[in-house]
């Protein structure tokens, strides 16, 4: 969808080179595009932002509500970072600048082909307000192969992940571990998943947990306590530190649940924070009541499992912790969990 018909023709030509040879329809206005979407099913919508009458962002908002399954790509000439953020907030799958697409057509086509392939696999979209560490960790834990392109203002960096292992990073002219540490220092930005590059030369050999730990330590050493932004930086460092603990222990997630009505639940590595916190709280109440009733003494801990994971509930003085492990994780999981929780709580 674009109001420039010449651009639409060019796009059609470019997209006709896609290996899957999809059927391509074009629309020169938002209204026309929405009518077409209503009339028949589509797999992907590529749209411009700056349009007369109904602009691209409005179209995207309507599409997200009425066609939640439809993949969406923004192809715009607007270089303002705010539009990129707003588009991602609306749940678009990719944001490309027109000149960037012309410069790197092959990559653009790979991204589109990858998106067309993904609509059969399902999955959820719309990660917002997650730290870069959360995102990298999710990719590594799920053993993904992808390239993360991270944008902050005019700065663009990339992180290559292959089979859940960090293999390369590029930032501000640097490569490898140095680049990765620089990217970690960023506290905001937007990210995109690009297709994996399995032939990318490996420059990072250290495991992700070791790098996280080193980065957290480096940030601690470089902290300037006189900086007025130090509170925000401290919070960021704390998250990095806790993520490094989680990664080092090998656990899937940790949820720290305070007594009801007190400070917020703290969690890393999981998206189901509320339901897991509710169960943890209820489980702690139930076992305490049962222990009192049958005079079995205080609760040391509770373990549980299903096909997806192993869980461990550890009551501590001020909080109850829920630690999740992979179903095949073995070794001294209780000891590892205790160590993790004590470090977390310290």
């Amino acid at each position: 969808m674009d109001d420039d018909s010449d651009w639409l023709e060019l796009s059609r030509e470019v997209l006709s080179q896609l290996p899957s040879k999809p059927e391509i329809r074009t629309a020169t206005s938002g209204k026309r595009a929405l009518a077409m979407l209503d009339a028949e099913p589509f797999r992907l919508l590529i749209c411009d932002l700056k349009m007369p009458r109904i602009d691209g962002l409005q179209v995207l908002a309507i599409v997200r509500r009425r066609f939640p399954e439809l993949r969406t790509v923004v192809l715009s000439g607007l270089e303002d970072e705010e539009f990129r953020s707003r588009a991602y907030a609306l749940g678009v799958d990719l944001f490309w600048l027109k000149n960037e697409m012309q410069r790197n057509t092959l990559m653009y086509l790979e991204c589109i082909e990858s998106l067309l392939g993904r609509d059969n696999e399902g999955g959820f979209r719309g990660i917002q307000s997650k730290s870069l560490m959360d995102i990298i960790q999710m990719e590594c834990l799920s053993r993904s192969s992808t390239v993360l392109r991270i944008t902050r203002g005019t700065l663009v960096t990339k992180i290559w992940i292959q089979d859940g292992e960090l293999i390369d990073a590029e930032a501000e002219g640097a490569r490898g571990e140095v680049a990765f540490r620089r990217i970690l220092a960023w506290r905001s930005g937007t990210f995109e998943n690009l297709p994996a590059e399995p032939n990318r030369e490996r420059t990072i050999t250290k495991p992700i947990n070791a790098l996280l730990l080193e980065s957290a330590q480096a940030m601690d050493e470089n902290a300037d306590i006189t900086d007025p932004k130090s509170a925000e930086q401290n919070a960021h460092r704390k998250i990095v530190w806790k993520l490094s603990l989680l990664a080092r222990a090998g656990a899937e997630f940790v949820v720290a649940v305070p007594p009801e009505g007190q400070v917020e639940v703290e969690a890393l590595g999981t998206q189901n924070v509320e339901s897991q916190a509710n169960w943890t709280r209820r489980a702690a109440e139930i076992v305490k009541r049962l222990g009192d009733r049958i005079q079995a003494g205080p609760v040391s801990h509770l373990t549980a499992h299903n096909l997806e994971r192993q869980l461990l509930v550890l009551p501590r003085e001020n909080k109850t912790f829920l630690v999740g492990w992979a179903p095949d994780a073995d070794g001294a999981l209780l000891e590892k969990s205790k160590k993790l929780v004590d470090s977390w709580n310290s």
Binding site: G291, S300, H305
Partner: protein, 105 residues
């Protein structure tokens, strides 16, 4: 004699920790039990009810569980979910009755 009876009656009731297994149906009724009949039936029912509640709360929170083990200072309770009911194993944790280690966690 009456005096002695009164003295004993006033003592707090202390039960030996239960050892064995029981099965409870989805309504919390005890179906079978290998636990000594000296152990109060109402406490046994309570164990069953609380264990079922743990499984039910997990289901409500969209994280259904197959097995739960509660480690108290002096008792370990392992429960396996059985179509809404549960089979529950009780292992007292005393120096005189070492119990097999849990196969997982």
């Amino acid at each position: 004699m009456e005096f002695i009876k009164k003295l004993f009656r006033s003592r707090a009731l202390v039960h030996q920790l239960p050892s064995g297994s029981l099965t409870v149906n989805r309504h919390g009724a005890v179906i079978t039990s290998t636990i000594t009949s000296a152990y109060p039936a109402d406490l046994l029912r309570e164990i069953g009810r609380e264990v079922l509640l743990l499984f039910r709360e997990a289901r409500t929170s969209q994280m259904p569980l197959a097995e739960v083990t509660i480690h108290f200072a002096s008792l370990r309770i392992t429960a396996r979910e059985l179509r809404g009911g549960a089979i529950i194993f009780l292992f007292p944790q005393t120096a005189y009755s070492p119990t097999p280690a849990a196969p997982r966690l």
